[in-house]
Amino acid sequence: MNDQKPNTFTAQPDERGRFGDYGGRFVAETLMPLILELEQAWREARADASFQAELDDFLKHYVGRPSPLYFAERLTEHLGGAKIYFKRDELNHTGAHKINNVLGQILLARRMGKTRIIAETGAGQHGVATATACARFGLECIVYMGEVDVERQQPNVFRMKLLGAEVVPVSSGSRTLKDALNEALRDWVANVENTFYCIGTVAGPHPYPEMVREFQAIIGREAKEQILQAEGRLPDALVAAIGGGSNAMGLFHPFLDDEEVEMFGVEAAGRGLNTGEHAASILGGRPGVLHGNRTYLLMDEEGQITEAHSISAGLDYPGIGPEHAWLNDIGRVNYVAATDEEALEAFQLCSKLEGIIPALEPSHALAHVMKMAPRMDKDRIIVMNMCGRGDKDIFTVAKHLGVEL
């Protein structure tokens, strides 16, 4: 769309929350003052060294950061090409990258004097992370979750309840993540005084895409330092799975201006891009407006949002963060896809070769690594975001492998 490259890729969004033509603030008037208040509070917090110090302290002692950068030696040998490193955010407290963002937002909510936290969740990872932080700070927590996801992610539902959160099953629309987001927005409209909406990915109205990216960018900052230490140079490629796009944005953003680093965002191809049953918003969707921002969406010719499909509940969203939409159009990041089958294969291979059971989300990233690494020279380096662990997925995987637990 635009072949003139900007001299920096990190100056977005503009003051209207636009990444190129994407992003923005497409919300009902009731929410506008809240979004403006949030933006103001966040800008202040960001400029306040004590806020950052408090966040760093929790990231270190509560989450366990920095997460290691690990050389996956046996996988590298097996694939016979590029050296593969995992950024191990699956070792974080609560088992995924989601907590990085949640802690940032919850500290901000406290600063704003909000006492009631709402969140949407698909796989339940963001819900668990939010419930965890709310327990830690004694805040009321309500998590909206599509009925379909409640059904397929029972362990996480129970976890959230143990942590003291109220899980509200959402029965409207397609009863999955997008409907949970709608319901959270409806709650926010109705509880404007005391409620903070903790969004789980780099989507939603401005300033969420930028704010969530900033909280997740710790992944990329650490990875950069770690790879320089391990290899004395930057990697040739970064690979991350894309649901809404937060773990990918977090890894990519600090490298965007390093031209020699190629980036691959892996969307969920579900049963295949040509089957219509997938969650690949960029490869299989078109620009539209949903959940407060303009971005690539899965929809029919009338602009009605269609259901996403993926074996991974965390990737099962018919949209993608607006910054990814922009990075796609300007050609800075390559968007590719992996099917359910390919992800399942990667899941098993990683478990057997590395002793790491990955979540189904990063299994998609790994599936792409399995395609690209063998075609690369042995002195090339890939860093993949291992953004979640697979404990939550063993029931789903067992079912697909025909195993009864």
Partner: protein, 278 residues
């Protein structure tokens, strides 16, 4: 802004109602709910049943600002195959017999954006539409559709809410025309009942910022509420109660068209009571 664009049927309607000392009944239905034919019959009969202005909902899969009643109306319409072209065709048919009652298309941005903004504004104007309410286009996004709509001669109806304080109101009122839709509750459509005292205070405050007619909506269900809230502004908007009536009549195998018109008639009578009290 309204001075710089030609007067619309909405402007004419409020001038006439003010002369008559009446309040506007703004009736919302979703286009194509429960099916195209029934919906057309409901639409065509609404003016005779007492509706002064009609809001015709453009169905959407993800109506974030709506409660269950209007969500279900959207789902029924979409399941029956409603499209933007069919919605515009409904307005054209309506206009063959009614050249006075204003029609406002109400909905969410994505179906409009995908239809194509320019094409949409052109086709809507040609069909006889008078104004637009696009819930997820706040003033911050006026370049998208609001300004082009005004340039096409369509009112872009703004929503003011309990969160629109004095600092925010000028932003909301800039580029506003037709009337101001006061959302009487913090919440989605059809859930809470508005508190008349709070609404009275807010409307009085908004009056200090604008001469536009103010219609009150989001929780109005009964003729009594219409009377109470109508007295506070220039009209009331009723939506969830009407579409719920469609669902209930259908569920009982009854006549949805007659049931909706009956409720509209009762609401209009309630409002006339309100006009006499003030």
């Amino acid at each position: 802004m309204s001075q710089t664009m030609p007067r619309t049927r909405i402007d004419e309607t409020f001038t006439r109602l003010r002369q008559q000392g009446r309040k506007a009944l703004v009736a919302f239905i979703t286009a194509g709910d429960p099916d195209l034919e029934t919906s057309q019959a409901i639409l065509d009969g609404l003016p005779a049943a007492g509706a002064d202005i009609i809001e015709l909902g453009m169905p959407f899969t993800d109506p974030m600002a709506d409660g269950p009643a209007i969500q279900l109306a959207s789902q029924r319409a979409l399941a029956a195959g409603q499209t933007m072209e069919k919605t515009l065709a409904m307005v054209r048919r309506f206009r063959e017999r009614d050249s006075d009652t204003p029609i406002v298309l109400m909905g969410y941005y994505n179906p409009v954006f995908v239809y194509g903004n320019e094409r949409f504004l052109h086709d809507a104007k040609a069909a006889g539409v008078d104004g637009l309410i696009v819930v997820d286009l706040p003033p911050e996004e006026d370049d998208e559709l609001c300004i082009p709509a005004l340039n096409t001669g369509l009112n872009f109806i703004r929503l003011a809410t309990p969160t629109s304080d004095d600092a925010r109101l000028p932003k909301v009122l800039n580029n506003a025309s037709g009337f101001l839709y006061y959302v009487s509750i913090t919440g989605v459509t059809g859930t809470r009942a508005p508190d008349a005292g709070a609404v009275a205070d807010s409307v009085a405050r908004i009056r200090q910022h604008t001469d536009l007619p103010i219609c009150i909506g989001f929780g109005v269900k009964t003729p009594e509420q219409a009377a109470t809230l109508g007295a506070l502004g220039d009209g009331v908007v009723v939506g969830s109660a009407l579409v719920t009536t469609i669902a209930e009549a259908r569920g009982k195998g009854g006549d949805a068209v007659a049931a909706v018109h009956e409720l509209a008639r009762a609401l209009a009578e309630g409002l006339r009571g309100a006009a006499q009290e003030t």
